[in-house]
Symmetry: C2
Subunit: 308 residues, 2 copies
């Protein structure tokens, strides 16, 4: 097994990693600039590789991308965060400029694969990985295999409806898991609760982020702790749905929102407990993801290595 | 392969079948009388078998049972419709009085297995079977295998929350799929809508059932059609959640509620379409189950034959 290129194309940044074994030997980050189109983005990735040439040659590349990724066809069908990237033939774009075997994969699937192989899901038969951020991504490992379903789009847990008629989601529907637990939901919850006690959102800077809120909560801000507690409750409702359907051994929680750690995970476990029907269903661990923001880079590389 | 006994223990009746190949050669039904306990029920099953002795001997028995069935241990942990059946060692009870190999299984899993092998799911790799009745049961076939998850209790789709804070469910929680689409929900919806237009629930007899309502709808009762349309909407929301998570090739709908056929399936498909995020996810067929009330009997027998 040689070295592998792992790439994770998100709405803002492209993360890159030279992966050897199960570790990133060299990591990088370049802007995505989706409006410039996928070809320019691919060229910038190749330039990064040339700048950081290592002694060994790259034997395979795994490209993870946000959105509905048609792995068989090698095409990104649509991506909420990559405006204009519709039916993009990502694999052939890369094949033209990178002389390696190319595998493309949905970013949440790649993250789940990474956590399963090298992180919080090691050795498990049934494992779910959630990435909580602006969007909520999900990846499923079932019966010891990454589960993609018949369309290849399984694991879109973020748009599972848990509150029919609830708050509007980025997808246009109402009451999705993401509309209650995604970054935007947390920020608007914080804004509402701060207002209710005559405090201002400005306390968290001109661009309040979930990371800043999480830091305040960790440092003891009682009101912001309440924000994460309420968020944790809804996370727990979603976790219960996952447990009822799939009964995994563990669910790993990663992404920016997970920065609040136990402040969100403890109430989530509590809500999960109240929302499954019987103690025997509670045989599931809710754990923080371990690979931080590198999960999809490592996972994409490992998929390219194992399945490519 | 010889003949197999298939048994489906529900809250009211025990359905029995002598299964040969994939067909029921001889079917029966006896009352469950859960309060008499599982041993008496097992003895009545054996009596039925003796009364209906066939020339060939039974080589295996598959016992499907409502509730949380711990297949490995051979124990029914708890069952909402079998009051008092807590930690019942069902397999050993049968082993003592039936001289065949015994396999026990959750009824919804057995029904899914039956529909997959001999009904609406034949030949599919990824298939979900829902049984809509007083309770809502779910069974999952993923990657060409009945999926039970790590606890063995996967597929409890009926208690997936789709309307946090919504109507109270039999399980004590709020807004479960079952609380919106189960028989009780349909009857209370009908009652509410009839009252709203100065009609009486009594029109459907002293004990109105979903079957009677379905018949009225099929015969053209506009208001009852609305009841099924609204029910179909919530069914569609739940179907969308299943499609987003598992992307199966087909979802089969069986059970009493499914008697309304297209009156509930058409609005469900419509809601599903509006609730998945992209047309490429719509590559799933929503179909009526084919084995009617025999699915779990056939499925339990086939599981005993294949996996026992």
């Amino acid at each position: 097994m040689g070295i592998i290129l792992g790439v994770d194309i998100g709405g803002t940044d492209i993360k890159l990693g030279i992966v050897e074994g199960q570790k990133i030997e060299l990591a990088g980050k370049i802007p995505t600039r989706p409006s410039e189109g996928p070809k320019i983005a691919a060229q910038r990735i190749v330039s990064w590789c040339k700048e950081h040439r290592m002694d060994k040659s790259i034997v395979a590349s795994g490209i993870a991308c946000a959105g509905l990724v048609d792995r068989e066809a090698g095409v990104v069908r649509v991506s909420p965060n990559l405006t204009g990237w519709i039916d993009v033939p990502l694999r052939s774009i890369f094949e033209e400029i990178l002389e390696t075997k190319i595998v493309i994969e949905n970013d949440a699937n790649a993250a789940a694969y990474g956590e399963w192989q090298a992180g919080a899901g090691r050795g498990l038969e049934n494992f779910v990985c959630l990435t909580l951020g602006t969007g909520i991504g999900g990846g499923l490992v079932l019966n010891g295999k990454l589960y993609r379903g018949s369309t290849g789009f399984a694991g879109e847990i973020g748009h599972m409806v848990i509150m029919e008629g609830g708050p509007v989601c980025s997808c246009g529907r109402r009451g999705c898991f993401e509309a209650l637990v995604g970054s935007a939901a947390i920020i608007s919850r914080a804004s509402r609760m701060l207002e209710g006690s005559n405090r201002k959102m400005d306390d968290f800077g001109t661009q309040p982020t979930v990371e800043k809120l999480a830091l305040a909560a960790v440092r003891g801000d009682g009101l912001i702790r309440e924000v994460f507690k309420e968020t944790g409750y809804y996370l727990g409702v979603a976790l219960a749905n996952i447990v009822l359907l799939l009964a995994p051994q563990a669910i790993a929680i990663g992404g920016g929102v997970a920065g609040a750690r136990e402040l969100i995970l403890a109430p989530a476990r509590e809500a999960l407990k109240r929302n499954v029907m019987h103690e025997s269903m509670m045989n599931v661990r809710i754990v923080p993801a371990e690979l931080a923001s590198n999960a999809a880079v490592i996972g994409a590389a490992l998929i390219a290595s194992h399945e490519g």
